[in-house]
Amino acid sequence: MNERAFLKEHLAIPEAPAHLAHAITTRIEQVALRRIWMEVSLAALGALGVLSYVYASSSLLQQEIQESSFIQFTRLFVSDPDIFLSNIQESVWSFVETIPMQSILLGLGLSLCAVCFVGFVLRLRQVRHQFSLHLT
């Protein structure tokens, strides 16, 4: 057992005066809330940025998805899988070459921002709930 663990086990933990404990808890809550609000704002800004990009280039994106050769190859693969499977190397390259990267990246970015936003809001609620128990 190291010295720190020994002391922790054998020494009584001093009780802080009530007003001091309250002040410390309030301060900790303020710092935690400030941090979470910052994260929520950043996630919301990120989501807003991606959404405005999607809105600004929606017709281009729609055209890219509709005319994407990836979709056409996928349709062919669904209707004639035997040909694709017997030419597996060409099939793999044809899919890799036509992946609509812009749409996938935008989708991932949007999902990430949405997940972060929801996660941070849940954490905010949790922290508020925990501190409200301490402070009342």
Binding site: S69, S79, I83, E97
Partner: protein
């Protein structure tokens, strides 16, 4: 459940290694894809007048073209069908020369089709492999219905 790697430092090293391997694989795949597309584009451009029977395509539609034609397929309308070759204008506005061989499967919604069923202005989807002459050697030609 006990984690497989307990040391924090080893976890970081393994994580960095995995990221590096994934980045290297993506880089290699990206280089190979670019090389294939460039090679097909170069062959296509060098053989264009011979493949298209001297025609130079619709200059008006060139402005809307994708940067390079697809090496493994073309989706669009048949411009001409002669002998064993088809000239197809793809949705990317590139005219591609498609070689039909004995191993090419020609299919429609009704089942198997023949070369004679391929008529001008017919919408088709072609899957195949690029040749050194800038053509696409078709493995599959699927006739599509005329509705968009």
């Amino acid at each position: 459940m006990q984690p497989l790697i307990t040391s924090k430092r080893v976890q970081i090293v393994v994580g960095v290694l995995i990221v590096l391997i994934l980045m290297s694989l993506s880089f290699v795949a990206g280089s190979h894809v670019s090389e294939r597309r460039l090679s097909h584009f170069s062959n296509w451009r060098n053989n264009y007048p011979g493949m298209m029977g001297g025609r130079w395509g619709d200059r008006g539609s060139m402005m809307n073209r994708a940067p390079m034609p697809l090496p493994n397929g073309v989706f669009g309308r048949i411009l001409s069908a002669t002998g064993t070759t088809l000239i197809i204008e793809g949705q990317d506005h590139f005219e591609q020369n498609v070689l039909v061989t004995t191993s090419t499967a020609i299919r429609s919604d009704q089942g198997t089709a023949t070369f004679q069923d391929l008529r001008v202005d017919q919408r088709v989807s072609v899957f195949g492999r690029p040749t050194e002459q800038g053509q696409i050697e078709a493995r599959l030609i699927r006739l599509l219905s005329d509705r968009p």
